[in-house]
């Protein structure tokens, strides 16, 4: 576990709590799907919590992120509340997007989340544009663009990296490299080196362990600081793993991913377990305190689910609202 730049107990515990909150959110989302209470499908980010939390904890609410189809973790980490998130997941009026977006467009916009995106790579331009406007308006804000390893196959990335590099934009491209693109190992569909691709545009790039929340947070803090000084853009290739299938319905997946591999990651590289152990080892928290965090988060999540299940759908009159800004 690397040393973190966030150095006080409060920061550590918040990072731990946020990771637990993501895990709890996803577990409940999965349950909603399995019990046929959720409309459609959803992509869970369990296993990838350290990336979302390590990065978002280095940002202010004024900093922007763009998220992906696997976006619940980013949304939680950027400061969203469970109730409005579960309402969104269930298509309820009190959802962050009034039920119009659902899982694939979920975002607490007020906290600088510019949205999850159902087009793989689709938000790369948006994040870069947010950085451009931050630079133009001299707001000092930074934009972080989350995307998966599979998304590096989208030409858009190369186009926007070129502009970001040319214009020194305050954007950090954060590749959540979980090794898979749907049902395919990404190394079967990615030639050469992803990191070298960013470097070829003159972008300073880092390969790092995405399961180590402190390492992620530490590097992000440094890069955010440098972005604010006009030294951006940057690229981070974060090695991580998704515990579930590509989406909730992807249950029998041994044809593309071995059970052994999954359990190896879960048992030895779990970001929450490992960070919990570190917190205990460093005497920052006791086992009981961590259990208490877990329990209270679980309780909060269950209450939010119960609330969302009862919440009302948007009125049908909303169907043609928000097509245009009035």
């Amino acid at each position: 576990m690397a040393k973190a730049a966030k150095t006080n107990t409060e920061d550590y515990l918040r990072m731990y709590t946020q990771m637990v909150r993501i895990r709890a959110f996803e577990d409940n989302a999965n349950q909603l799907y399995l019990s046929a209470k959720m409309p459609g499908l959803t992509h869970m980010s369990s296993g990838q919590e350290a990336v979302a939390v390590g990065i978002c904890e280095a940002l202010t609410p004024e900093d922007k992120i763009t998220s992906t189809h696997r976006g619940h973790g980013h949304c939680v980490a950027k400061g969203a509340e469970f109730k409005a998130m579960f309402c969104e997941l269930l298509g309820k009026e009190e959802g962050y997007c009034r039920g119009k977006g659902g899982s694939m467009h979920i975002a607490d916009q007020s906290n600088g989340n510019l949205g999850a995106n159902a087009i793989v790579g689709g938000s790369m331009g948006i994040a870069t544009g947010a950085a451009l406007s931050a630079k133009m308006q001299k707001t000092g804000a930074v934009a972080v663009c989350f995307f998966g390893d599979g998304a590096t196959a989208q030409g858009l990335w190369y186009e926007v990296m070129n502009m970001a590099a040319l214009w020194g934009l305050p954007v950090i491209y954060a590749c959540e490299n979980n090794g898979y693109s749907e049902y395919t190992r990404t190394d079967e569909i990615a030639a050469g080196s992803i990191t070298a691709r960013a470097e070829a545009f003159g972008i300073e790039s880092y390969d790092l362990d995405g399961q180590d929340v402190l390492a992620v947070n530490d590097l992000t803090q440094k890069l955010v600081e440098r972005c604010r000084k006009g030294e951006g853009p940057f690229f981070m290739n974060l090695k991580t793993y998704r515990y579930h299938g590509h989406h909730v319905g992807d249950i029998n997946r041994e044809y593309y991913r071995a059970k052994d591999e999954e359990s190896e990651w879960k048992t030895t590289r779990d970001p929450i377990t490992n960070f919990g152990k570190w917190l205990e080892g460093e005497k920052i928290a006791t086992t009981d305190e961590l259990i208490e965090i877990n329990n209270s988060v679980r309780k909060e999540a269950e209450e939010a689910v119960a609330y969302a299940l009862e919440a009302k759908y948007p009125d049908v009159s909303e169907v043609d609202m928000h097509v245009y800004v009035a």
């Binding site: 409309p39 459609g40 499908l41 298509g91 309820k92 997007c97 009034r98 039920g99 119009k100 977006g101 659902g102 899982s103 694939m104 467009h105 995106n117 159902a118 087009i119 793989v120 790579g121 689709g122 599979g150 998304a151 196959a153 989208q154 030409g155 693109s181 749907e182 049902y183 395919t184 079967e188 569909i189 990615a190 044809y255 593309y256 759908y313 948007p314 049908v316 909303e318 169907v319 043609d320 097509v323």
Partner: protein, 331 residues
């Protein structure tokens, strides 16, 4: 006759054509081992190998571009575009390249490729995974556009598409993959540009595309129980469009509704309605009415999504109005 799912029908069509013609191959995301997320192509890689069933990176413009080049040089690619919404990503390769190559080369080059993709809302997939974008493609000369309305059409049209020497885009309704229909064991092809009169009637013509054919048929059932006789027609391909059959029907019934799951404005219903109005004008007892999807991005919430698309009840209600002369004062 045996009944098979639309999914199986597509699979059979492709397998048969790949057996018949070694230059036919498949490419797209997760088409091989996974057989696509909808499992439509399951089993093909086992029979034809990874040389002819090619998993691509998530590079839609790229692999459509590859297909165009491969089609120009002796092969017949079938490209799988996982969601119809991604067609926006490939419009340049499809519309600036594939569609125009034959013409721009004065007839010297051709692009015999198939782009199979899907359409259809109410799957709770929100605005970027629910669109029915066939009208965009139909607007571009050089492309043909097929819209199967059942397993039977899905097989027959796919086989025709694969043998066609032009770029063809097929939109399958993703909600119909598990729907079964009678499909002969024997080989058959469905020619492009030949509409199918699904049901004869005398009072009103209901023209539906893709799953809207089912909606039209269900509406016709409702209407029949009320003594209104509706003719239901499935154009099957919107480019080429079998204008003749549609006009003949409307001349007979004097009334028509055009039903399509694309957004209503600047879409398919406008084109068909305009042609009918123009060419059967003096036979019409009422304006041709259009029923497309609402002009809104597809909302996620079930409460909203369900009301964005035409329903049998809605169509029946409109037909009733038309037949009772209620529209006279409206227009």
């Amino acid at each position: 006759m045996r009944e098979i799912t639309l999914s199986k029908a597509v699979n059979e069509a492709i397998a048969e054509e790949m057996r018949r013609d070694p230059t036919v191959f498949l490419m797209g995301e997760d088409v091989a081992e996974a057989g696509t997320p909808f499992k439509v192509l399951a089993g093909l890689v086992e029979e034809f190998g990874t040389e002819r069933v090619i998993d691509t990176p998530i590079s839609e413009p790229g692999f459509v571009g590859l297909a165009v080049g491969a089609a120009m040089t002796g092969t017949r690619p079938i490209v799988d575009l996982m969601f119809g919404d991604f067609i926006f990503l490939v419009m340049d390769q499809l519309c600036n390249q594939a569609a125009k190559t034959h013409y721009m080369s004065g007839g010297k080059l051709s692009v015999p490729m198939v782009l199979r993709t899907n359409m259809g809302a109410t799957r709770r997939s929100a605005a970027q995974h629910s669109q029915s974008l066939h009208a965009l493609v139909a607007h571009i000369p050089g492309l043909k556009v097929a819209m199967p309305s059942s397993a039977y059409e899905a097989k027959g049209l796919m086989k025709t598409a694969i043998r066609d020497n032009n770029p063809v885009v097929i939109f399958e309704d993703k909600l119909m993959y598990q729907d079964k229909a009678p499909v002969p064991e024997e080989e058959y092809l469905i020619p492009f540009g030949v509409a199918n009169v699904k049901r004869e009637g005398t009072d009103i013509t209901l023209i539906g595309t893709s799953s809207m054919v089912q909606v039209a048929e269900a509406a016709a059932d409702i209407l029949a129980s009320e003594g209104i006789s509706a003719e239901v027609i499935d154009p099957r391909t919107i480019v080429p469009l079998d204008e003749e059959t549609l006009i003949k029907s409307v001349k007979k019934t004097s009334r028509a509704i055009v039903i399509d799951e694309g957004h209503q404005s600047y879409g398919v219903t406008g084109e068909i309605a305009a042609r009918l109005n123009e060419k059967a004008f003096y036979h019409l007892d009422a304006p041709v009415v259009r029923m497309g999807a609402m002009d809104v991005p597809v909302p996620f919430s079930p409460a909203l999504e369900d009301i964005t698309v035409p329903t049998p009840e809605g169509v029946a209600a409109m037909a009733r109005k038309l037949c009772s002369g209620e529209m006279i004062h409206a227009a």
